[in-house]
């Protein structure tokens, strides 16, 4: 296709689970959808999700008594009260539908086997009789931070199976996917988004897509941590970055970055939480299960932020195993036995064999915490409509919807992609059917010319400037070591200064490759400034937030502070502005009052405001921060007080 301007009803930027599910919903409602994807959609990073997808089906013995209310409670506690509680409730209510719909699309979920089953729970071998009546229903395994077994799974390839099933639907519906394309700018007039400028990664040409509605579904920004991430090389936050560039769309909670406890040392490749869910242990250099003492109740299955901190502290205290790449700890799943490992955890078996040359039935696995998930992203209302720009939506990890707050529970993100894909897709279709395609081609061609000028500018620069890959590596070192698991004011100050310097370096960097076509060095250079700007919003957000909440931990402010910080960070930063501007909005209407999570520290600074007062003007304040009206009123899907039946 050589056309410089194409049109569609719904433009979906990103071909992972959230983007594809959203496109399916829009297409099923009669809208023409076009999906842009950096890679063939089945290679999107959704495919790397391993252990499970949370949904309160209550199908097995250890899930007995589970309900969407319990799932809601776990999610809000996991978020350290950073989540929008209405969104957490919508999510918990609809997750079972999303899981069953995936079964309908063809996902071969592991199923309950009625009769005697052999499990490992908190270090004990137990036999449990599964109800024969439940035989053949979708099975569940244990995951961190949950009261019940709730993670539905297909071995340790859950994301792969889900993505293939959903992409099959995309093919069935005949939805066009342009793979190897990248949205490099949004087309907008300051109040409405009308599409995006796209770079073709097959030949380096640019084109514009004009659409009634545009959806950002580009996943997380883990690669701002350089090599210190479990994320794919393609998780460079491009969607969040082009939204930030507009200057009118805020990103939410960028400092909320999750570190996964068990990634392979040194490559950072994910080893699923399902290993610990199925009974695996963490061991230190003396072979001790240090998590039993650190978290007597949940042990290895406390939330990820809590386990990662204990691991990091334990290594700092000298209990790690030294390696040329720094210290690590051990994950022990030997006792689960070869048969279990080669069926229920097959992908872990493969990864251990391929990347560390180990047989996990006989040998320990070297692991350490690494950047894993971006809770922050494009701030949207409960319909997925972005703040500040009508017709722009965001969904999945790219968004800050915001059900995860400051810490996401394992298995909740896979479920979020499908639940929010359904909901946001519906709203996108509604928006597209109610709006004309704006024929302002001048806006599109101006944005297109800007993008072409940016690429030409890079190619025209000559001399001996800094190298883009060295800037990237320096960014990764700064982010991991100064904006990582433990954060401190003085280190954050240094990080902000260092990233500022790298932004200057980026403006002076010079390409060594001037080849026509896609030019891989140019392709990366075009993303680099956006990545540095995202890194800066993370560092500045962390610097400003003088408390500890979820994955954001300040050694100099170790307590959660509900008096001053029970809020969400918003940051706007137009491409032509020197400084980001920060503001703070209430998290949403709070139904479950802030309290102890059930793991981690029970100390905190209590809120002094009353909940009624806090809740009184949430809508008004959020609207003042750019929130656009949702189809249904704010709070319509909270089930106020439903949790009281559980907590007593």
């Amino acid at each position: 296709m050589s056309s410089r301007l194409i049109t569609t009803d719904v433009l979906v930027i990103g071909g992972g689970l959230a983007g594809e599910r959203c496109a399916i919903e829009a297409a099923a409602a009669g809208q023409e959808a076009l999906i842009l994807s950096l890679v063939p959609p089945r290679r999107s990073h959704s495919c790397a999700a391993q252990g499970g997808m949370q949904a309160a089906l209550a199908n097995c013995a250890k899930a007995s008594g589970d309900s969407s209310t319990v799932h809601f409670l776990d999610t809000v506690r996991g978020s350290d009260w950073g989540a929008d509680q209405e969104v957490a409730n919508i999510f918990a209510e609809e997750a079972p539908i999303a899981v069953r719909e995936l079964a309908h699309f063809g996902v071969p979920w592991s199923r309950v086997r009625g009769g005697k089953n052999h499990y490992f729970i908190k270090g004990e071998e137990v036999d449990i009789d599964e109800d024969i009546e439940s035989d053949g229903l979708i099975g569940q395994r244990d995951f961190g931070g949950t009261a019940k077994w709730r993670a539905c799974y297909a071995a340790a390839g859950t994301g792969h199976a889900a993505l293939y099933a959903v992409d099959s639907e995309v093919v069935r519906l005949g939805i066009t996917v342009r793979d190897r394309t990248e949205a490099v700018a949004l087309i907008h007039d300051g109040s409405r988004c009308v599409g995006a400028v796209v770079r073709d990664l097959r030949n380096g040409s640019h084109f514009a897509v004009m659409a009634k509605a545009t959806v950002i579904a580009t996943g997380g920004y883990g690669r701002v941590y350089g090599q210190y991430t479990s994320n794919a090389t393609i998780n460079e936050g491009t969607g969040a970055s082009i939204a930030l560039d507009t200057g009118v769309v805020p990103l939410g909670n960028m400092e909320a970055v999750q570190f996964h406890p068990t990634t392979l040392s040194p490559s950072g490749i994910l080893v699923t939480e399902g290993c610990r869910g199925d009974g695996g242990y963490l061991l230190d250099k003396n072979g001790d299960r240090f998590m039993v003492e650190a978290e007597p109740v949940k042990q290895e299955l406390a939330s990820r932020d809590v386990v990662s901190r204990h691991m990091q502290q334990h290594m700092r205290d000298g209990f790690g195993i030294d390696s040329p790449y720094g210290p690590h700890l051990w994950l022990d799943i030997r006792h689960l036995g070869e048969e279990h490992l080669r069926t229920k955890l097959l992908e872990v078996w493969d990864i251990c064999r391929d990347f560390v040359g180990r047989n996990p039935a006989e040998e320990l696995i070297p692991v350490r915490p690494t950047q894993h998930y971006s809770m922050g992203g494009v701030r949207v209302n409960k319909d997925g409509q972005a703040y500040g720009l009508a017709g722009l939506f965001a969904v999945g990890e790219a968004s800050c919807w915001d059900m995860h707050g400051f810490n996401r529970l394992g298995g909740n993100s896979l479920a979020e992609t499908l639940v929010s894909g359904r909901i946001v897709g519906r709203e996108v279709a509604k928006y597209a059917s109610g709006h004309e395609l704006r024929a302002d081609t001048g806006l599109a061609f101006a944005a297109l010319a800007d993008a072409e000028q940016r690429a030409a500018g890079w190619l025209a620069r000559s001399g001996a400037g800094p190298n883009v890959y060295e800037i990237r590596d320096a960014m990764g070192e700064t982010m991991m070591h100064k904006v990582g698991i433990f954060r401190k004011g003085d280190e954050l100050d240094e990080a902000v200064a260092e990233i500022g310097q790298l932004l200057d370096d980026c403006d002076n960097a010079v390409l060594r490759c001037k080849d026509p076509g896609v030019n891989p060095e140019l392709a990366f250079a075009l993303r680099l400034k956006g990545m540095l700007r995202l890194a800066m919003t993370v560092a500045r957000g962390a610097q400003a937030r003088t408390e500890s909440r979820g994955a954001h931990y300040r050694s100099d402010f170790p307590l959660r502070n509900d008096r001053d910080w029970l809020n969400r960070t918003l940051v706007r930063w137009g491409a032509d502005e020197n400084e980001p501007s920060f503001s703070y909005e209430p998290t949403g209407i709070i139904d479950l009052p802030p309290g102890h999570r059930g793991y981690g520290s029970d100390e905190r600074i209590e809120m002094t405001d009353s909940l009624d007062h806090y809740n009184e003007d949430v809508l008004q304040v959020q609207t003042g921060h750019g929130r656009l009206a949702s189809t249904e009123d704010m709070g319509s899907r909270l089930r106020r007080g439903a949790w009281k039946a559980i907590t007593g």
Partner: protein
């Protein structure tokens, strides 16, 4: 490779051609670099691009052997570059793009188009019996059936089997290992409403399982170790069953 072993100097010969550059001619370039412990071709190729030739094109995404982006010919054999340890290779390493797929540049090929076309041709989606009912409990399935479908579902569409296939290299309509495996995966799925006779045209034609000449390189190179020989036997049995044995349709 142990940490104490003498580091080797690797000599990596790479196929080069940029179709977007009118001055580019197909050729190979040789790059030298020092091997480090646990070095994979992912690490080696990025090092070459970042330190020696910034124009070098190749594809990686997950770098953990699950996304299927990085298949290439490694010393004459299709393999996932991300999980190939240089320590398993001789000092001289030859890298070529996968054959049978359209070249994008250097080591990068267009597998996306091939697999989308295959999915459309074989209608590789569940042909539903009933529309989805969001209020209903899921249909039951035995865990053994689920496990069997999952086994077929594990294909990552990397294209190694296609590139290794003697027939796919001369006939681009042949479904090859990945395509046939995909067909079998849906054929065995009780949720799919297609009967064996409906499958017959897909499986039995010139593009299908009976065209396979049985060299089975596909099974040798599959990075997921899918049991393709068994898959083809299953397809032949089911197809013949539909043709000769049954008045109606055979059971799944």
């Amino acid at each position: 490779m142990s940490d104490t072993a003498q580091a080797r100097r690797l000599r990596v010969e790479i196929f080069r051609y940029n179709p977007e550059d009118e001055n580019s001619e197909p050729h190979t370039d040789v790059f030298e670099l020092d091997e480090t412990p646990f070095m994979t071709l992912y690490i080696a190729l990025n090092q070459i691009r970042e330190k020696q030739d910034p124009g070098l094109q190749f594809d990686f995404a997950c770098r953990s052997a699950i996304c299927g982006s990085c298949a290439m010919m490694v010393n004459g054999r299709p393999a996932l570059a991300c999980r190939t340890l240089t320590s398993d290779l001789p000092e001289k390493i030859q890298l070529y793009p996968l054959p049978t797929f359209k070249l994008i540049g250097d080591l990068s090929v267009d597998t996306g188009t091939w697999f989308r076309e295959m999915a459309e041709k074989t209608e590789a989606w569940i042909h539903e019996r009933m529309p989805f009912d969001p209020d209903a409990v899921e249909e039951r399935m035995s865990d053994d059936v689920a496990a069997a479908i999952y086994e077929g579902d594990r294909c990552i569409e990397c294209g190694c089997c296609v590139a290794s296939c003697g027939l796919a290299n001369v006939d681009d309509s042949f479904l090859a290992g990945a395509g046939l495996n995909r067909v079998a995966r849906f054929m065995m799925d009780p949720r799919d409403s297609r009967s064996d006779s409906e499958w017959f045209d897909v499986v039995a034609g010139d593009q299908g399982v009976f065209a396979c000449i049985g060299m089975m390189a596909c099974e040798d190179v599959c990075p997921k170790e899918l049991p393709l020989l068994e898959v083809y036997a299953y397809l032949r049995r089911k197809t013949l069953g539909a043709r000769f044995l049954a008045k109606g349709d055979t059971a799944k």
